[in-house]
Subunit: 146 residues, 4 copies
């Protein structure tokens, strides 16, 4: 994968106000794969003190979206069409890691698998798995609007 | 629906650090229906300046979860088993409103439909629809852990 | 909706070997809505003697697909991108009715809601709800291949 | 995995009228994994002559259901709560093979990943991936009703 693609992902990610607000950071960018990490903070919790499923799904969706973005042509942008998430275990740990992986990439649509793990001092627990459909908006560069 | 149930929902929602962090507020609580509103802020945006799908899904999941909670027996808590969201239109507007609605309520599992609308000065645009499976954890009151 | 569209749906449906094999018939065709009925036969059962979820999903997917087809331009064909189904109640009855309904129709993608009901002598029970993403293959008329 | 479990799966599968009607056969039974094969017949086709997505989803759902069944306690039966399928490539080939695999097994709910491949003379093409939620009905043996 070219350096240019990694930079496009980083630059786009940095413009996502929500990722900054949640304290999520890009952890890995490869051809067809992006991983995002998000340390625990009380601001990310649900009512029992674990990571909120909304925070889990936010980084899962984003990891998948940028995984797709790495295989898109230049001057295109990415749109999530839909995603589905099964929550497997309580999202409790020092940080979550979401991994998005391209399974099938077409001209218009790209399908990703999503996984989220909770990292604890001595284990890594799968907390969610998902599937996602992305749309490639060709000819619409991923630049700030306006 | 009893006052006690509405209070249980409000009290539990207030403990969700993420909802506070996103600026989301409970807008309506009825038997089998909960609506949540979330005003736009740059902290909720994706790379083009709209609401991030992760923010959209966070309030959709929460609205459905509490809609289920309104029909659960006392001394129980709610767990999201899975949800699926289709994104219909750019989530652009003054605020989003997520509505969760119980479709089928069983002893163990409850199924909800999820809708999210973007409110703009002169229109209300559907931005997402979803389905969600909830689990009722009977005998585990929804109280702070620890 | 024009007569021509209804005829296109009927003619395409008749070419679906599976619908014939399952004994499914088109029950209603409207702009953005198609209903399919399928009488019970032991050949459609799962291990407890109810309609198999695979039979339920086959007519749900087909109803949605043709609902989308009614809003597509001429000389196009329809492709299911993905669908998700929640099974609500045992699929037991004299016949199932699947209703597909267009929720959002775009140039490339169309989103449908799916519902399946079991008709019993004195009631109509919802057995499944679903969401479906369709793709419009413009310029590829829905004609037999080869 | 015990012989008894394999026999339970085979015996239950044989009672599924739909699987017989579609010409589907059990291909593999392991602890937490079941594969089903289904040769092409015109009776399984959609309007362009490929396998119908409904036939694809029927064996995918069944493979996942029995994968779950292999890890359930004796005297229980299995219920599909929901499933979601992404269709990746045209389902064209000599036969389809659906593989269901348990990802997480809990006391009440079990989550499976579903994969369907089209086998062609010289290749094996992924045609669908999915996720499925199953419910274990403890104390309700999987025997014919009535």
């Amino acid at each position: 994968m070219s350096e240019a693609i990694a930079r496009r992902v980083e630059e786009s990610f940095a413009r996502q106000g929500l990722m900054v607000h949640l304290g999520a950071v890009l952890h890995e960018i490869r051809q067809g794969l992006v991983a995002i990490r998000m340390p625990f903070r009380p601001e990310l919790s649900q009512q029992h003190g674990y990571f909120h499923a909304g925070a889990t799904s936010a980084i899962a969706d984003t990891a998948g979206g940028y995984a797709g973005f790495t295989v898109f042509p230049e001057n295109s942008s990415v749109l999530t069409v839909e995603f589905k998430l099964n929550l497997l275990n309580p999202a409790q740990g020092d940080f979550l890691e979401a991994v998005g992986r391209v399974v099938k990439s077409g001209r218009t649509l790209t399908i990703c698998q999503l996984e989220v793990f909770a990292h604890r001092p001595d284990e890594r627990v799968p907390v969610a798995i998902g599937q996602q459909t992305l749309m490639c908006m060709a000819g619409r560069p991923d630049v700030p609007s306006g």
